[in-house]
């Protein structure tokens, strides 16, 4: 049996739209408009194994959502192939839908006026599950997602955190083999985010559900995903284990210097070092370790400043990701 859940080969999506040419008349603009083409996804390839947890990240307009929509059969690719669990989403959208679950963080699939239990039963029927199985699965999801306290409330009266838990539960009613999540934690507070992440991890462990998520939230990536694919300008820039993401791209070290009394002046730093932030109590210096070692930079800093405490650390994942985006933008 193939160990891959998702195989994407040379996938491209171009959008074309008509643009108004101000130098042409309205008749020409109406019947023979100029068209502009945007390449949203450009020849990307990757595969995902059963049970893997993938973060598919990139800045706004990078092509994340377009890719996820091609994986689900919502959008038709311009060229290239997608194979999900042996199905071609463009030809077998309905058959594939039985095997996958989707959560679009900014849209709701639940019935707003009715209690959550009605929505879950509704989706059970939509996925052609027998009545007995629907009831059993709802009971499982209620326990797993701790939905009991708000099962009988109309969905529109739920808090955002409760609603997102309910959305994910609804997506899992048919025990999908893959769940595709498009920014599932958008707008949630820290507590609700953690709760949702814990639930997704639980689902992955207990039901071996493959997870493919797009997110701008570094916390989602760090705590949920064991592999990260970075996409920008429609091209896959990096594809590596999440834990290697920070290591691979850390060519910078951060050094915090806490003043013994006060920092009175801020002299120019030698090449390879620059100020990240500075005030009379604390200075943060960024060291480019390709140009200067940590040891050498510490020596130079101690010559320049009188300090009470020193802290040396790597950039956090958010900074690393920002660097990747910025570097990719300037290189394009």
């Amino acid at each position: 049996m193939n160990s891959n859940s998702i195989i994407v080969s040379n996938l491209t999506k171009k959008f074309s739209f008509s643009v108004r040419n101000t130098s042409s008349g309205w008749l020409k603009n109406l019947f023979s408009p100029e068209t502009k083409e945007i390449v949203a996804v450009n020849d990307i390839s990757f595969s995902v194994k059963h049970g893997e947890r993938i973060a598919f990240i990139g800045p706004n307009g990078a092509g994340k959502s377009t890719t996820i929509k091609m994986l689900t059969g919502i959008l038709f690719p311009t060229s290239g192939k997608v194979n999900i669990l042996g199905f071609d989403p463009t030809k077998d959208r309905k058959k594939l839908a039985y095997q996958i679950g989707t959560v679009f963080g900014q849209r709701s699939q639940l019935l707003p006026n009715l209690p959550l239990t009605d929505s879950l039963e509704f989706f059970g029927v939509m996925y052609d599950m027998p009545e007995k199985e629907i009831k059993k699965r709802i009971a499982e999801l209620v326990e797993l997602f701790d939905l009991d306290s708000f099962m009988t409330q109309p969905v529109r009266k739920l808090s955002l955190g409760q609603r997102m838990r309910a959305e994910v539960a609804a997506s899992l009613i048919h025990k999908p083999k893959i769940i595709l999540l498009d920014e599932p934690t958008i707008g949630l507070d820290v507590v609700a985010k953690k709760s949702l992440r814990d639930l997704l991890l639980k689902i992955n462990k207990e039901e071996n559900t493959t997870m493919f998520l797009t997110s701008h939230d570094v916390g989602d990536i760090e705590s949920l995903c064991d592999r990260t694919i970075v996409i920008n300008h429609g091209v896959v820039m990096r594809d590596l284990p999440t834990q290697d993401l920070a290591k691979t791209f850390v060519y910078e070290k951060y050094i915090d210097l806490v003043a013994l009394s006060h920092f009175n002046n801020f002299p120019e730093l030698p090449e390879g070092m620059s100020y990240s932030s500075r005030d009379k109590n604390k200075i943060t210096v960024v060291v480019d370790i390709n140009k200067m070692s940590v040891q050498e930079s510490l020596k130079k800093l101690l010559d320049l400043f009188e300090v009470e405490d020193i802290d040396v650390y790597n950039a956090d994942l958010e900074t690393v990701i920002r660097h990747i985006y910025e570097r990719d933008s300037t290189s394009n």
Binding site: S108, V125, M126, D128
Partner: protein
């Protein structure tokens, strides 16, 4: 089988929704009473001025014909255009496209479900009220009336859904379908007999009402006339012709539209 089960679930769910929020029923009832009531008062006056008969039709027939139009309109099948446009404009279509359903058939059943509760309640009570106040024309007591009414009602509902789905599907190509919707909707209203009962139409208008899909979608308004007994099969035949033709148009439009889907952020 799966489709029937899902359709039944949609209808049950939406009826439950409407029962829980009865305000929509109140609004629909007021709407029918106001629109239908005003027209009937005006027609009552006009018929009186003409000694109770216009174009060989009495007020009693006109009342029931207009009532059938308004009763049918409570189903709000026309709103499917706006629902499809909203799905496309808001991007909600991606949620429905990710489910194992046929989008259009789901939308059609949803539309029927949205109006069926108000339709049943209003139709039952208004029919009883009309029988009590006006009485029944002889044509409505004939054995053929109920079966052919149901037949033409179902055909009219399918035809309306197809007609307005075509308008809705235009959203894939043009940003604002409202002008097209306005033209189609007014054509249906006029040729369907909402302003003027079809029996009072001049000959050429009657022919347009008879042979166009706009008028055919409202043939339920013809059922009360004496001519219905003779030519009901011809009218149902016209409806079936348009159902097949518009059904094909809907199918091919949707096949093309699927490839044009574009949602914000992809």
């Amino acid at each position: 089988m799966k489709e029937i089960r899902l359709a039944t679930k949609i209808l049950k769910t939406l009826v439950k929704d409407r029962i829980q929020y009865p305000d929509k029923l109140v609004v629909d009832t007021i709407g029918v009473i106001a629109r239908c009531g005003i027209l009937l008062i005006l027609y009552g006056y006009v018929f009186k001025l003409n000694d109770g008969v216009i174009n060989g039709t009495t007020f009693l027939f006109a009342v029931w014909s207009i009532f059938f139009y308004f009763s049918f309109s409570v189903l709000r099948l026309r709103d499917i255009s706006g629902e499809i446009m909203r799905d496309i404009q808001t991007g909600n279509i991606e949620v429905l496209f990710s489910k194992p359903i046929s989008y259009l058939s789901y939308r059609m059943w949803w539309q029927v479900g949205s109006g069926i509760y108000s339709f049943v309640i209003i139709t039952i009570f208004a029919t009883l009220a009309l029988i009590f106040i006006m009485g029944l024309p002889s044509t409505m007591t004939m054995s053929i009336f109920i079966p052919t009414l149901i037949l033409t009602f179902i055909c009219g509902a399918i035809l309306s859904l197809f007609l307005y789905s075509i308008v809705g599907l235009l959203s894939f190509w043009i940003e604002d379908i409202n002008p097209v919707f306005w033209i189609v909707d007014k054509a249906v209203m006029i040729l369907g007999g909402s302003y003027l009962p079809v029996a009072l139409f001049p000959a050429f208008m009657f022919k347009i009402a008879l042979w166009s899909p706009f008028g055919a979608s409202q043939f339920v308004t013809h059922t009360v006339y004496e001519t219905w007994q003779i030519n009901w099969y011809q009218l149902v035949g016209i409806q079936l012709f348009w159902i097949v033709l518009l059904g094909l148009v809907v199918y091919f439009m949707f096949e093309r539209a699927k490839q044009k889907v574009s949602v914000n952020g992809g």
